[in-house]
Amino acid sequence: MPQMNMIQAINSALDVMLERDANVVLMGQDVGYFGGVFRCTDGLQRKYGEPRVLDTPIAEGGIVGAAIGMGVHGLKPVVEIQFADYAYPAFDQIVSELARLRYRTAGEFHAAVTVRMPCGGGIRGGQTHSQSPEGIFTHVCGIKVVMPSNPYDAKGLLISAIEDADPVIFFEPKRIYSGPFDGEHEKAAVPWSAHPKGDVPAGHYSVPLSRAEIVRSGSQVTVVAYGTMVHVAQAAVARSGVDAEIIDLRTLAPLDTDTLCASVNRTGRCVIVHEATRFSGFGAELSATVQETCFWNLLAPIERVTGWDTPYPHAFEWEYFPGPDRVAAAISRVMEAP
């Protein structure tokens, strides 16, 4: 089986879908001739032509607005927002238009647009190239929100997103584009070729949306994570020596509450990990869901491990980043609770 990093896996998903479905078009700033600043669309314009892999003006609201119009005319646009931090000019088009079109027309019109955006920090990107705004989008009804943690899932989930009849916001944690970064930033980088999820089939396959994956079975505590934090959680669990169950949510909305709550009901403890800021973050929703469903089985208060409620500071990104130490400390606290 071919080995791919996450960039190659995303490229492969786009390639497969451009090949299979003449209605699929890619568009975004720098995605065409150049192949994207992160190279996710490398070579695709050469292969499928300029009209189907379209370089656009730097206008996120225009990119998404035009993609909606294309979607209404039967195309399946896959849009790249160069950094998730740049999605805000497109916010109205995503929230008021893309997410609501099917609803407000009682199903007569819809636009099946996939919006890809690299997110997350740890690349010295400062406060405008490091954000994880998934919680802003999970609060919007009518869009699906996905964040893969590895190349295999990235390809399979992106294919599912493009094939889905509803709009999908597809977050790509850019710190793990080239390897399964676990937060130990001083260690030598590990490539995806050394990881089982770097084995990616060349052809078409899909990973279903709204289905979480248990990446490590365990009995004492459930650690819930997604994106980069799945690998951080694994490092923290290895360090703590606790028999933890690690859940990779993969799709944040609509959420697979069954897998999450079944696990917590079994383990009685829950640690939620995300890189985004804490207050009103997605972890709050997860915590509330677990509390509402698993309260009588909980042995300890639910813990949230997150980025601090500050912008992502350029000079202090590792003090900001919720690394394995912070996660391991939370695991210890829930284990020690009386």
Partner: protein
């Protein structure tokens, strides 16, 4: 001596109690503007962006190179649609005042824009209306009963009770949905047109927005994308001088016409008398042909006047002179087309009155029918459980649970209401 900068704050020329003053409005005589070749370079037609294309002169005669030479029966159809729009608006306004719908918004004084432009386009062209373009639906023959049922949010409502009144859509009639957020339809129409070109079709898109909304980023997104890809789209600005209480100067219309933004983007800009049915038809036909032949987008500014309040929630007497429409230099579009037809010997005051009576009776009959599908207080009502549908193509588990919860609430409420 210190020099200081000064903030210029645009003001309308007249406020309540003052005499209406439209001396700011620059017009051109009917027939004065040359008509360029359809595929001419935009640089060869910049005069169109600051002049005013007019066909009907003060004697109600069609003159000049933009005269579309429409047959009398086409003009009569246009007159009929405009009159129907006005009478429909009038009745819905009254119905709102009686508390039978929550909101309404008339297009009084600017009926020609939607009617004439829709008639100049092909039925398979895709229209992306603003909220005051009910005439597009009427010109394309959308049933008034359906429009009324939308305003009633009743069991026949195309939006299933999810939208405020007037936010219609019509998929089979190729009319897109009205959002409520302004100018969002501009880049969407451009995207639709880009898709049409990608598919090798000759269908074009047309979008409308008010002059006030040209200040929104979406207007500029639409213009940029249309210009960059030379999309087959007509982008319309309906300059009715007012955005609720904001005079057009506040949207940037004081220094230069809105149409003149077109050439700035490399797009032809045409400023047209928006109360002149013939001029609108000619300009739209020209722009549509240009788009269909691969010449790309055109920006059309229709100069008109919002004769009525912004909506039933607005009272213009608080910010502009009463009856100012009477002083509007470009008159009333219906009266002007009527006089033109009379001058042609193809119409009469008597026929006009008879038509108005017929149409009004038709509107009244439609209202009766619409109420059969339920009103805000009586008759059948949409099932509230349907509110969970169409959020997604397939209802996900959390919405199934919430629908079940609502269902329990509704059952409990019914039990409470049942006399024992």
């Amino acid at each position: 001596m210190t020099r200081v900068s000064r903030l210029h704050i645009p003001r309308p020329p007249a406020r309540p109690g003052q005499t209406p003053d439209f001396s700011y409005l620059q017009t051109s005589p009917a027939g004065a503007m040359a008509q360029p070749e359809v595929m001419a370079a935009f640089t060869d037609m910049e005069y169109l962006a600051t002049g005013l294309v007019r066909v009907l002169d003060d004697q109600h005669v069609a003159v000049g190179p933009w005269n579309p030479h429409l047959e009398p029966d086409e003009l009569q159809v246009g007159l009929r649609h405009m009159l129907l729009t006005r009478l429909f608006d009038q009745r819905m306004q009254t119905i709102q005042r009686q508390g039978r719908i929550s909101f309404y918004l008339r297009s009084l004084g600017e009926e020609a824009v939607s009617i004439s432009q829709a008639m100049a386009l092909r039925p398979d062209d895709m229209l992306f209306p603003g909220y005051r373009n009910q005439g597009l639906h009427i010109a394309r023959g959308h049933s008034l009963v359906d429009l009324m049922c939308q305003c009633l949010s009743n069991t026949r409502d195309m939006c299933k009770g999810r939208q405020m009144p007037i936010m219609y859509h019509w998929q089979s009639g190729n009319i897109f949905s009205i959002s409520g957020n302004l100018a969002t339809q501009y880049p969407q129409a451009v995207g639709w047109a880009m898709a049409s070109a990608l598919k090798g079709e000759d269908r074009i898109a047309a979008a409308w927005t008010g002059e006030g909304s040209t200040a929104e980023a979406d207007f500029h997104y639409g213009m940029t994308f249309a210009a960059v890809y030379r999309a087959p789209v007509i982008l319309n600005i309906v300059n009715n001088q007012w955005a609720i209480s904001s005079f057009q100067g506040l949207a940037g219309g004081e220094q230069r016409s809105f149409a003149a933004r077109g050439p700035g983007y490399g797009i032809p800009g045409i400023r047209v008398d928006g109360n002149d049915f013939l001029a609108l038809h000619a300009v739209t036909t020209w722009a549509a042909e240009r788009a269909r032949r691969g010449g790309g987008p055109t920006l059309i500014e229709s100069v008109t006047y919002r004769a009525a309040a912004h909506s039933t929630s607005d009272d213009p007497a608080r910010y502009r002179p009463k009856d100012d429409w009477q002083a509007w230099p470009l008159g009333d579009p219906i009266e002007r087309l009527k006089q033109h037809l009379i001058a042609l010997g193809e119409w009469s005051a008597q026929r006009h009155e008879q038509l108005a009576r017929e149409l009004d009776a038709h509107v009244a009959e439609c209202w009766k029918q619409a109420q059969n599908a339920g009103t805000m207080t009586e008759g059948p009502r949409l099932d509230p459980r349907t509110m969970f549908e169409d959020v997604f193509a397939t209802m996900p588990p959390h919405l199934l649970r919430q629908r079940q919860q609502l269902d329990q609430e509704l059952v409990a409420a019914t039990k409470d209401a049942t006399p024992t």
